[in-house]
Amino acid sequence: MSADLIFEIGCEELPASFIGPALELLAAGWTSEAARLRIGHGEVRTLGTPRRLALLVKGVATRAEDVEERGEGPALSSAFDGEGRPTKAAEGFARKWGLSVEQLGRENGRLVASRTVAGRDTLELLPELLSQLIVESARNRKAMRWGAGSVTYPRPVQWLCALLGGAVVPVRFGVLEAGGVTYGHRFLAPAALTPRGVDTYVDQLREAFVLADIAERRARVVAEIDRVAAEAGGRRVVDDELVDTITGLVEWPSGVLGAFDAQALDMPREVLISEMRGHQKYASIEGHDGRLQPAFVAVANTPVKDVAVSRRGYERVLRARLADARYFFDEDRTRTLASRVDDLRRVTFQEKLGSIHHKVERLGQLAATAAAEVAGVSVDHVRRAAQLCKADLTTGMVGEFPELQGVMGREYATHDGEPAAVALGIFEHYLPRGASDGLPTGDIGALVGLADRLDTITGIFAIGKAPTGANDPFALRRACLGVIRVVTSRGYRLSLERLVDAALAAHAAHLGPVPPVIPVMDAEGKTRKGKPERPTTAEARAQVLEFFRGRLRALWADEHGADVVEAVLSAGFDDLTDAHRRLLALSAIKSQADFVPLAVAFGRASNIVEKQGQELLPGEVDGRLFHDGAEERLHAATQAARVRVDEAIRSGDYATALKAIADLRPLVDAFFDAVMVMAPEADLRQNRLRLVRDVTRLFAPIADFGRIQTK
């Protein structure tokens, strides 16, 4: 026997970001608890609006499953005495199981007890289960108390609707008791209504002006925005994040068109969109030519009697905000960006690392250093962009909208008559801003951005605040990924180590020498070695490079395989572009049929060399010490390959290099089959090791084959 379950938590307006995760926790909580209590059930569905979270479960068994219990008791030999009467052990065992000794079974020479524990009525089990789910749904979320109660939830819970079939489940939460009714839209249909069943729940609520299904509601939000945008002769500016937020703010989306003064359009598009979406949650409209229109869409929760009234309200608020933006825009432009650089002395970057002005000086130097290695770049422009790239942080507009940093820099630089490439570089030095964001299109932005990120990364490590698993307040992981993506996408041939050294040296100059470690006295009066305040430059250098290594692994492993990435990184990654090319070449041959044997053969060679490292002497292979033709053939082929491989590596043609190396495999295999490398005679052994060494030297600059998984 089964029945459908409707469980709805009705609240005062919940934070939009809470709804999705809460529904997931409800569903997961139900599934695991029902399994634990052995309550069978069918399909689970969740729905949510700002005012309600709902769990719908079909076919919930009205009784939990029966449980067969079994236990083993004493051996028969100790269960009965000489006359066949039960001993105390047997009686105790029987008593424990609530059975008589006669009812016990005998198996494998022991007494056994078994019984069926009848499953309890689901209706008895649900109240506690469901009230637990309420608590579970708000896990890890800021919660509050209300009235004189002590229960907590992100917002006050107003009602509980809990129905199993037609029966109300007596769930309690604080002083609230569940009933069998829900409520419609706060204004349009506030009266109580009784859900008829899980299949009609969504429809009933829709009739009461509530779109409970999130996907349906989101689609309606989009449809409303599209409808209104079309009314204005344009189309919506796509903004999924805004749509998600709006979906979490309404139960019955209703779009209203509003307009603003077209004069505002001479401000950058990003400014207008930020004003509209940031606080007001209005959607922006663009024409079919992609240009922003002086119009917007406000998505209301109620279709009001006369939209002109609310439109006036929406427009008023936006007018005031745009006036603020206009004020900032005009006020900001009364000074040049260049004149603002000095003000950066008063803006702290990091307590120990100094002001943003200090940072700008360092990154200008670092960017110029990097620029010298890139062909066709104007170092003057790079320096200029570096000089100005943070100046917009002191403007009113960026003060109001921090997300407009870079955008305003570009705008104001252009206004000041700076070269277009410099203005673009100021904007682009922030790219990429996220995993899916675009990359810089010009060298200036790319190089200034590199310098900025390296300055931050090395600085934070230098002061001993390296990120941990949970804690990365300076977003160094993202910064590191940015460096890797920018360098590899633009094919820059830069030495990461040289840049890291230069960056660390600049920090050391500012920070001064690392203070000596002083002993500390603990509570018991014992002195212990203190902890260093921060790492030495050498330690920081190692940490930074290790950090890069970790990020490279994280970035490339999914696509190419962790072992291939490890093999490439072990051969060095100072030149990121080169490392990437090696990775691509190695990854390309990985799918070939003969890759594994190749990896086995060369991996073996690699491991031998690594293990024998100490014993190896420098020196050339001596052909007079060959005993087997396999040695001779391998040696000759290796020498010949060497020229070709070195040539290919020099021109970055790793595919050719790897092909030439792969051609040697049969000879390597033959060598290992025929020859005992670790011969007892020292001179033979060393000669053979040198031969293996020569083989590994072919591919050592490309990858360490010993790291490749061959199982």
Partner: protein
């Protein structure tokens, strides 16, 4: 069927409507505090009374001074001093939201005519050591009320929880009267907001942004702080709190003047918070010594 209220025509009428409504719903009407405060929350009739178990239902207009917001009477939206209508419902009733919406209807804001929304906004005051969860209430996109369920004040848990409703009177009046400049608001028959407050806006802005004597203010802060601590030791939390408020306003003046650096700011806020905490503790102790009189009354 109740008659639908039309919008009040003047600022005075707006206040009268809100006062009538909340008085009819069980709130005692008080007057704004006679010391400089930045918000209705700082008034001891909120800050101290939300502490402890005794019930409390009040409503009052609070003239609120924010020296950094002074614009010499030239900005149509920003003021050195604005007026809040403050309501405290303790314990928060289960129908707080409904009551609030009814109060809006009483001032002519009806949900079928305006898009009314509760938009998540959690409030916190570092100086008061207070925080709560709640919303900004939006009327056609404009914030008209801060609606907060206090969780903590002066560092102490609030039990029972108080609901605080803070209406922005100038904003609401501008909206209802369809005025774009705060000074054009009709204050009373024949008198505008400009008539009542413009000169003060000009002079108070000049004082707080340009003319104040920073040295004097620093000295005053120190002596107010010392006196507050001394009074707490003398078991006089209420006069002590007055001195805490004086510290807070003095800090606001120094801050508006630019006399406090970014690094020093945190330190000053800490000092005021410590005083607020001391006053909260002293007040709770005193109410306990009195046997929480209002608690018995409501039983």
């Amino acid at each position: 069927m109740t008659v639908r209220a039309s919008a009040p025509a003047t600022f005075t009428e707006l206040i009268l409507r809100l006062q009538s409504f909340w008085s009819a719903h069980g709130c005692a009407l008080l007057q704004g505090y006679d010391l400089e405060v930045g918000a209705g929350t700082m008034n001891p009739q909120t800050f101290l009374r939300v502490l402890g178990p005794e019930p409390w239902n009040v409503a009052y207009v609070e003239p609120s001074r924010r020296p950094a917001d002074g614009r010499f009477g030239e900005n149509p939206n920003r003021l050195y001093q604005h007026h809040q209508f403050q309501v405290i419902l303790k314990p928060s009733p289960p129908n707080t939201q409904e009551l609030y919406l009814q109060s809006l209807a009483a001032i002519g804001i009806h949900p079928d005519e305006h898009d009314l929304r509760f938009v998540e906004d959690d409030w916190e005051s570092p100086t008061l050591g207070a925080w709560g969860l709640g919303w900004e209430v939006w009327c056609d996109g404009m914030e008209v009320t801060q609606f907060t369920y206090f969780q903590q004040a002066g560092g102490f848990e609030c039990a029972p929880v108080s609901a605080e409703l803070t209406y922005g009177l100038e904003r609401i009046a501008m909206y209802l009267q369809n005025k774009d400049n705060v000074f054009d608001i009709a204050f009373a028959s024949g008198l505008t907001y400009r008539d009542m407050f413009h000169q003060n806006e000009v002079e108070a802005s000049r004082y707080s942004l340009k003319e104040s004597d920073a040295q004097q203010l620093f000295a005053l802060f120190a002596s107010y702080e010392t006196e507050c601590k001394r009074l707490l030791e003398r078991k006089l939390p209420m006069p002590a709190y007055d001195f805490c408020l004086k510290c807070s306003h003095t800090f606001n003046n120094l801050d508006a003047r630019g006399a406090i650096s970014v690094t020093e700011r945190a330190g000053y806020i800490q000092r005021v918070r410590a005083l607020a905490r001391g006053c909260a503790e002293g007040y709770l102790t005193s109410r306990e010594a009195l046997g929480f009189p209002l608690l018995k009354r409501s039983a």
